[in-house]
Every structure is written in C-alpha cells, then in structure tokens.
Amino acid sequence: MNETTKQPDTPRSSVALQTARNTAKVAGAFALIFLGLLVANFIGTAVIGPRRENKMAAMRALLREDPTDEKLLADIRQLDLRIRRDRLWRLDFARKSSYALLGSVALFLAVGKLAGVLERQGPRPGHVADRSAEQIAESRHARWGVAAGVLVLATAGALLLGLQGPLAFVKAEDSGPPYATMEQKNHQWHRFRGPGGGGVSSLTNVPTAWNGESGAGILWKTAVPLPGKNSPVVWGKRVFLSGATEEKREVFCFDADSGQLLWRGDVPARAAVAEAEIEVMEETGYSASTTATDGRRIYAIFATGDIAAFDFNGRRLWHKNLGIPESMYGYASSLDTYQDRVIVQYDQADAEAGKSRLYALNGLSGDVVWEAKREVPNSWSSPIVVEVEGRVQIVTLADPWLIGYDAATGTELWRAEVASGDVAPSPIYAGGLVMAIEPYSRMTAVKPTGQGNITETHVAWQSSDLAPDICCPASDGRYVYVLDGGGLLLCSNIADGTKVYEHELRDNFMASPSVVGDKLYLLSEEGVMHIAQLGPEYQEVAKCELGEACFASPAFADGRIYIRGEKNLYCVGGGRP
C-alpha cells in the first residue's frame, strides 16, 4: 500500500458529489436533532420518573396509615394516571424517534458511502520492486503476532483460574451430607434438652460453682431482646434462642465465647396471624418452643404457628405458617431434627377435630416431606428422635397415645395407651425403655420395639409414685429422676420403676432435670442450681445461685452451662475450652 502513489488531489465538483455531501449534511443534522430529542426524553424518564415514583410511594405509605383519607386516595389515582400517561407517551416518543434516528443514520451512511465512492481516486502503482524482504518481515511479524496472541490467551486463562478458583461444592463432596449426623449431634446441644431430648450429657468438666450476683464463675451475661420460655440450643460457637411478643417473633444467635448477639432473625407475621387474636397463657408466652438445629440451619416455631429456618449467618431461608394452633395454654412443643428435616409435633384442638399432625419439613425449603395424622388433642410435650435397634424413631406423647414413628417415612410403628389429660412432659428414651408421664398420675416405661398397639404387650412397668405436670424425667440408664413443680425429687430404678429415694428441694421448678457426667443438675424457678451426685441416695454437691428467675432448661457444652434467665442469657464456666 505504501508504494502505491496516489494521484494529486483534484477535487471533483460534480453535481452528484455535491448532492451526496449536502444530503449527508442534512441527514447528519436530522440525526443530531433526533438524538437531542432522545437524550431529552431519556433525561426526562430518568429524572422525573423516579421523582414521581417516590412521591407515589410516600403517598401510598400515608394511605396505609389512614386508609379512610378519600382526598389522598383521589390524589394517588390522579398521580398514577399522570405517571402512566407520561411513561406511555415517552415510550411511544422513544420508539418513533429511534426509527427516525435510525433512518437518518441509514441515509447518512448511504450518502456518505456514495460520496466516498465519488471522491475515490484510482490507484497509480509505481515501480514494481522486489518485495521479498518486506514479505519475509511480514511473516516474521505475523509469527510474533501469533505468539503475542498465545501470551494473551495464556494470561486470560491464568486470570480466569486465579479469579474463579475451583468449584466450591466439589470440595464439599467429601464433607458429608448437608446436615449433621446423629453422631455429630450427640456432641452438641442441638435441641430442647440436648441429644435425644433426655437432658443427658456425658461431659465431666461442667462447672459446679458460680454466683450470678457476684459474677463468680460467670463467663458472660447478655440481655435477651425478647421474652421466651424456650431453652438455649448450642452448636459449636453459636448459642441460639428465640423470643416473641404478640407483635414480634425473632431468633437470636449469640457468640458462645463472648456472648455477643451476632444476629437477630425476624419472623414476620402472615396476614392471617396479624389479624387473629391469639390467646396464650402468660406462663407459656409466645415463644415457649425451643429451637432446633441440624448443624446447618436453625429452626424456630412460635405460638402463632409461624415456623422459620435461618442459616447460621442469620439469613432467613424460609418461613411458613402451619395455621394458628388451637392450644389451650398456648403452643409449646419444641422442635427436633432428623437429617435435613425439621420435626414438628403440631397437636391442637380436640382429638375429634382431627387437626393434630406430626410434620417432617424439608429444612432447605420448608416443604412438607411427610405428615402423619394424629388422633390426639392439643399437647405440650416435644417429640424425640431416637435410635432403637438400628432404626431411627420419632416418639411422641399426647393424650392418650405414646406413638413411635419411622423417622424416614412417618409411618406409625407402634402405639401404647399410657397418658391422659393435658400432657406437657416429653418422653425420654433410656435403658431400652421409653418413659412417659401422665401428669399427676403415673409414669409408664414402654419397650419401643413392637408393632401396632403394644399397650398390653410392651409396657415394662408403671409407677404412681410421682408424676409431674411440666418437668420431663431424666435418666442415667440406671435410675430415673423425676421432679415435680413443688421441688419433690424422686429417684426410681429404671429396671422395674421401684422407688429408690425421695428428696424435698424446697424450691419451685419448671426446668427439667439434667444428668451431666456423674451429677444431677436441677434448676429452680428462683435461679438456684441444685447439683447432686447420681446414685441411690441424694448427695448434694453444690447449690449455685444465679440471681435471676429461670424457667427454661439449661444447655450443657464443653466446660460450660448456658442458662436462660428471665431477661438474660448466662454462660457459666471458663474461657475458651
């Protein structure tokens, strides 16, 4: 191209060339005009539109506060009409103008091309030289060009690798299922009264001395934003609680080491709940149900029937309402988890109403995996997930049935008629027996291995020595400990239910007893923890005062006890274990 000599510039003044140039100028001018109009239209849309939308939003907010304001309603309608008319007009204008602009550009290009053709000078090549050197150089440059291309591709690939990294879920392939195993749960306090719901921990380093008022032995104390009777749930370095009033429902996550409130998860009310009047007993409150975790997510249910799941960072994954429960004292059953399913014992109304259910909800989505219809009235006990002879069962207790379900399918395995009335204490599984309490009446031990109605065949023993109305029993596998609200502690043989001893604690109790290592922990409503040695006779180890009323059962972790007071959450124990 360089060697080609061009003719000297001799501008053609042909009519065609001039016409093409002038037409190009006119088309360009039109294009600019349409462009200006479109820019103005764009600015109008981008600036005025949002301003009016904001005004509309503000007016709507005002109307929500006072829905009877007819003038405001008329103004909103007027503004809405203006917004819509304006936007339709602008869209129409933009469409027409863009066609005109494209037409102008097309004309400009066409006549510009024509002018270019008319202006074009013919080539006038000069002397034909040997171009070998030039062609060799071109080939060399081209090779380097390809090499540069390779370099660019390699750099792009390296950047891609560096920026994106490997697929995260592939690494997670070996990290097990998206939920904690039962073995992992056994080392945590993942539900009401810990693994199996029996209030049992094998830890031997749990504190036995503290004082809430002086702060001795207290690692931290943090105010809980909303009231609730539910117990702490502990998973790793996180402690979970829930709280609620008539208006609000929240889940709280505390740092286990510092007590810092890490996040609060709001559970909004569904419209039906917001409008309904839900009556609960003051002693029960709106948040008596203890949360549960599957090691990945935390689940909470409230007296309104609202159930929600949060991830460990406080992001609400799902929320649904199971229907406002018809519960005489207010819904209080705690949750449990099986694999990535959350287990909900949703007993309500009379048995004849047929409204009671046991649900297994998908922890990831909240969808019902299975549900089992239950011929029982409202109850306040909690389901337990236990492994019996290699099979995982969900055991529930309500008037009159103690029922074992297959955890995987929800199929009923067995049932025993052991209770009546308002059932609140949850069953426990220890020593191969399920212990169930009929308040003020009896405790029954059942072998959970049969099929169908096993009342006549699998009841190991019954005892009428003590049957509390709220507190659940606890067992170390040899003895069963039962505590009533008035402070009477009964110790029985698990083998046959015979009484071993009785002891009067002279305190009131709502929290259930816990068996930790070789000790029995009994937390009174006054906040006094009675610690006794396990065994055939009552031997007091210590009495520790918290200085705050307590209604919830404590949670036990490595070297620590988490106690929910009426207003504060306490961590008893040392620093980082």
Partner: protein, 434 residues
C-alpha cells in the same frame, strides 16, 4: 468533514442503542379495585413450518445466485444488491434466526446429545453454505450472511490491518468456535447466539451489553472491514477450510494477471496476496531451521493447550446452568453469600436434596474436564498450525484473492484493467478452477 462524520456516527449509534434498550422498559400493571379480571398472558404461536422451509429455500436460492453473480457475472453492484436483500430477509425479517453461524452449535449438540434432534431447517442452514462453499468459495459471506451484510453496509473508510495483528486476531475466531462447540456439545449454553452482536439490531432491541458490543463492532467496522467476520466468526473458520478446497473460486482478473498492481489495495479485508519470490539463499537455511523448531513445538503446543484447557475445567463448567446453580446453592448453604436467587429458590421448591444437585453438577464438571482438554488441545493445534503456515513460503506468480480469506464481495473486479477490457469486449469471464 470526515472526522466530524465519524464522531457523529459514533454518538448516534451509541444513543440509538440506548433508545432501543429504553423501549424494553415496562411498568407494573395497575392495581384494579374493581372485579376486573386481568386477561391471561398469551404467547404467540410458533411460526408455521412452511415458512421455515421457505426460508431454507430462499437461502439456497440466494447462495446459488451469489455464486453466479460472483463467479460468472462478476458484478459488485449485483452482489451488493443481493447482500442488502439478505440483510433485510435473513436479518430484519427473520430477526437473525435461524442463523447459519449459530447453527454450528445445534450440530455440535446433536452430535453429543442423543436426546436432541436437530430440526431439518437448521441442518439446511448449517450445511447449505458449506456445500456451496465447497464448489464456489465463500459466496455466503459476501452476499448472503446478514451479519456480514450489516458490517459491509457501514464500511466507509477502510484501513489496512497490519499482517501481524490480523494473524493474532484471527486466532480469536478459532477459540470462539472451540468454545461454542464445547459449551453447546455439553449442554451448557449456545454462546454464539447469546453473544450474537447484531441480532439486537435486527430485532430492534435486546440485551444492553450485547447491543453495546454490536455498536462497538459497527463503529470499528466503519474503518476495519467486517471485523466480526474476520476475527470472531466461528462459522467463518469452517468456511475458510472449505473454501480452500472449493472447486471454483473468485479471481481478481477474469483471465490473465498482468501484475499491474492496480488491485493491490482493492480489498478492504486484506485478502489479496501479492506474487512471491523464492526464499533468498540465506533466509532459506534459517527458514528450514525455524520450520524444524516449529514442528517440534507443534505437539508441545497441543499438549500444553490440552493441559491448560483441563486446568480451566471448572471455569468452563460454570457456563453450565446446573453447575452455576449447584455452586450458588452451596454458597447459600454455607453462608458465604447472602440472599437467594430465583434459580436457587426454584430448586428448593422441588424438595430435592442438594446432594443430588452437587452430584449432577460434579458429573457435568467431569465432562468439562475432558471437553476442556480437547478444546485446549484444539486451540494449541490451531496455534501450532498457524505458526507452521507462517513459516512456509508459498509461491505465487500472480495477484490472487486468498482462497480462505476472500469473502467474494466482488470489490476487486473493477480494479483490474483486464476486467474493464472484458466488459468492453462483452466477453464471458473464465471461472477459475482448482
């Protein structure tokens, strides 16, 4: 004036795109307080099959006509007219679909996915230009392809792209072809369609980023002839190879080349090759050593490319929607991201355990490990082949249109004095055979 013209065009194109994107804006339906029932949304019926076959027939007709105009009639004006017809017919009327360029992906998918049956019309759109190219060269590019036509229409002031830049940029088309086939074959995406830069213009609206990409290519196309066709078009890569084998081909001169050099700068696409002399003696020895070195380098480039492609397997796999979903769900479950997406929400409503999703995605990831290695090996092969081609000197005695690069647009005819002579004498052109 020229400078202002270009500035003006630049501004106009950019804002025209902005307007096109604005036209997509909508607002929510009114909140009716009466018992008005909103009509259900209806979807337009798919086009009748007959029109698909009509389109395929028009394509074949246009291809044969283009071959006639380029090789027999040698008329740039007629080719230009046919090009404008194709721009309107296959671009604006058919909205750029079915697109021959994109049909490569359908063929790739049907080759690797037995569950996918390629529509016969798509197969025709893919195969007809290839068959015609085997006989007549790239007449499809010159007069039938709407993507080429829209670029050709805006070319006003062509400048020559240096050889070294042309050589390196052309690699992009091979990479694009490889990636397009890889992602289509493994069911990840039809990226050639997704990133079709001009379909937004044909449809008068579309994705903002793609419109900007198209506008940029058109702006470049004012000065650089057909940038997409030369440096990006994946179908063009296949046509290049077919054109090398074509039975007949476009020639600059209708009969004999007199080496007048008048055509030297005629091609805005840099497809005219000047005559070459034998290697100078000293260069010949160096060239032999270089060729030997590049021959040794060739397998290493293929192996290195395959290794690089294998390393990038996860990045490639992310193009697959299932893999992206699995990654998103995992990030959500591990708390590494906040919020959910429509896709992750939809997945959760299925009730499927995420383990299943991860397993599926991992399986797809393994396929991408193989596919990535093949893709990388292909790129290495192309680079090695290109370097070898540049190390070999081909003898040419005349000015020739490069058989692989020539779009058969017919611009060069009028530069040849022999063509003027032919037209004056009313002689028929001699169609060059291989």
């Amino acid at each position: 004036m020229a400078r202002w013209r270009y500035i003006l065009i630049t501004l106009v194109c950019l804002f025209a795109l902005n307007v096109a994107s604005l036209a997509q804006e909508r607002f929510p339906p009114p909140e009716f307080e009466t018992d008005y029932v909103r009509p259900t949304t209806t979807m337009p019926q798919p086009e009748q099959d007959i029109w698909e076959y009509v389109a395929a027939g028009v394509l074949i007709g246009a291809l044969l006509l283009a071959a006639h105009l380029a090789l027999k009639r040698r008329s740039r004006k007629a080719i230009f007219a046919l090009m404008l017809f194709s721009l309107v017919a296959f671009g604006f009327i058919r909205k750029g679909c079915v697109c021959t360029v994109g049909s490569v992906q359908n063929v790739a998918l049907t080759a690797f996915d037995p569950a996918y049956a390629i529509p016969i019309v798509v197969l025709i759109f893919f195969a007809a230009p290839l068959v015609v190219t085997l006989f007549f060269g790239r007449v499809f590019c010159g007069a039938v392809c709407p993507l080429g036509a829209i670029q050709d229409a805006v070319l006003i002031h062509p400048v020559r792209v240096p050889n070294w830049l042309e050589s390196s940029l052309r690699l992009l088309a091979y990479v694009y072809l490889g990636a397009g086939v890889l992602f289509a074959a493994l069911g990840a995406a039809f990226i050639i369609c997704q990133y079709d830069p001009f379909v937004g213009f044909f449809r008068l609206g579309g994705n903002w980023n793609i419109l900007v990409l198209g506008a940029c290519l058109l702006l470049i196309g004012l000065f650089v002839g057909r940038p997409y066709c030369r440096f990006l078009c994946p179908y063009g890569v296949i046509l290049r190879q077919f054109s090398r084998l074509s039975k007949w081909r476009v020639t600059i001169t209708p009969n004999d080349c007199i080496k007048c050099r008048l055509c030297e700068d005629a091609c805005p696409f840099g497809a005219i090759r000047a005559p070459t002399e034998p290697w100078p003696g000293k260069e010949y020895k160096i060239a032999k050593v270089r060729l030997a070195f590049l021959l040794l380098l060739f397998p290493m480039l293929v192996a290195g490319g395959a290794w690089g492609g294998y390393l990038l397997r996860d990045s490639f796999a992310r193009m697959h929607p299932q893999v992206r979903l699995a990654e998103r769900v995992h990030l959500e479950e591990s708390g590494e991201v906040e919020g959910t997406t429509d896709a992750s929400d939809a997945f959760r409503t299925t009730g499927r355990p995420s383990r299943e999703l991860y397993d599926e995605a991992a399986q797809i990831g393994r396929r991408f490990a193989i596919g990535g290695a093949i893709f990388g090996g292909f790129v290495g092969f192309i680079i090695g082949g290109k370097l070898l081609a540049l190390a070999v000197r081909r003898r040419r005695s005349d000015y020739e249109a490069d058989r692989a690069s020539c779009f058969a647009c017919g611009r060069c005819y009028e530069y040849c004095p022999k063509e003027h002579e032919r037209l004056k004498l009313g002689e028929k052109a001699v169609v060059a055979r291989t």
